[in-house]
Symmetry: C2
């Protein structure tokens, strides 16, 4: 291919990548507000001003689009919560850093409807299929992140021995409930989570 032809392909790829990003950002906002089922090629075209046919060419099916939205939301969560917390020392301090960044993530909020995961997990818990699987894989990864830091904290003697599985279930339950409470005007929800988590993370005697 000549350099002119290469440039045409490059521009097309770049345009495709840009379109993809615009569509996925809007898809994640819609899904955090109204759920993954509310994503449609028509609504995305109307909201972004892009052509419906163009969006369909990129994503083919609604399911592919939903899966791409779950992936994109996962990246946002990692970028805003998991990665920045890595600057805190491992163990208890990193658990608190995760909660601090999570509080900003749901309060800013990064996705228009708050926590993308919390908005969709309960709605998909009775279903089967790739979208359910992707959502619960993301949930599992988040629980594993918390587990890893709690285990480190216990092994390093930062925390009294605790049931890791139970504590992770407990903290995640509080975060999901706080997300819903924040959405419906309970501004004290994050403070409630902090108070309860403080009572769980006890230093060894």
């Amino acid at each position: 291919m000549g350099s002119a032809a290469t440039e045409v392909v490059d521009k097309r790829l770049l345009r495709g990548a840009r379109t993809r990003k615009v569509v996925l950002e809007r898809a994640v906002d819609i899904a955090s507000l109204d759920g993954l089922e509310a994503i449609s090629f028509g609504r995305l075209a109307a909201d972004t001003g892009l052509s419906k046919a163009g969006i369909q060419t990129l994503f083919k099916t609604k399911e592919t689009l939903q899966l791409a939205a779950v992936d994109h939301a996962r990246e946002l969560f990692v970028d805003h919560v998991v990665r920045p917390a890595r600057s805190a020392p491992r163990g208890v301090e990193r658990v608190w850093a995760l909660l601090d960044h999570w509080a900003v993530y749901v309060s800013t909020p990064v996705c228009a409807g708050g926590c993308f995961r919390a908005a969709n997990l309960a709605a998909f818990d009775s279903r089967t299929g790739p979208v359910h699987d992707a959502l619960f894989r993301d949930h599992r990864a988040w629980l594993d992140t918390l587990s890893g830091e709690l285990r480190y904290a216990v092994e390093a003697g930062q925390l009294a021995d605790l049931d890791i599985g139970l504590t992770v279930f407990h903290i995640d339950a509080l975060l999901c409930a706080a997300n819903t409470a924040l959405r419906t005007g309970d501004d004290a929800a994050v403070d409630k989570v902090r108070r309860i988590v403080s009572s769980l993370l006890v230093a060894p005697r």
Copy 2:
């Protein structure tokens, strides 16, 4: 009206009431599985074998149908959780009775997809309108039921003093998370809730 005419009207009303019940039971099942947005006249007609036109005549709009489903789910919850717990003495014992009946309600499960409220609250928390309002009115009523028993328990000296609002937020968060965990195969979820709630409901010294 003659007695024959009265009988015709009576039969028609009875048939209307029966149809309403069949439709609402199915609507609550669908909404507990796939969310309130998944309720449609077409799907209900296909699932129940009733005519779509007949269902539309009864409920007029999708929103009226969704609101009737929220009401019906509320009645199921009261019948299976709140009312049977009233046979337990007020206070701590009734809180445990509520949790015991709730465990049966979500594990049996009464609605095909488990807890109707938990399946829909997070999905509707960013919206406005009558369906959002009805869901959160139901949620408020449930939180008030828990609050009332906890307050009684503290005042009667059954429990050490506690922050009622915080404890109710805490217990409800665990129940919602347990419902999702149960749907996705974590059979230990109810036991996790019991262990955590036991640690919250402490007798006075």
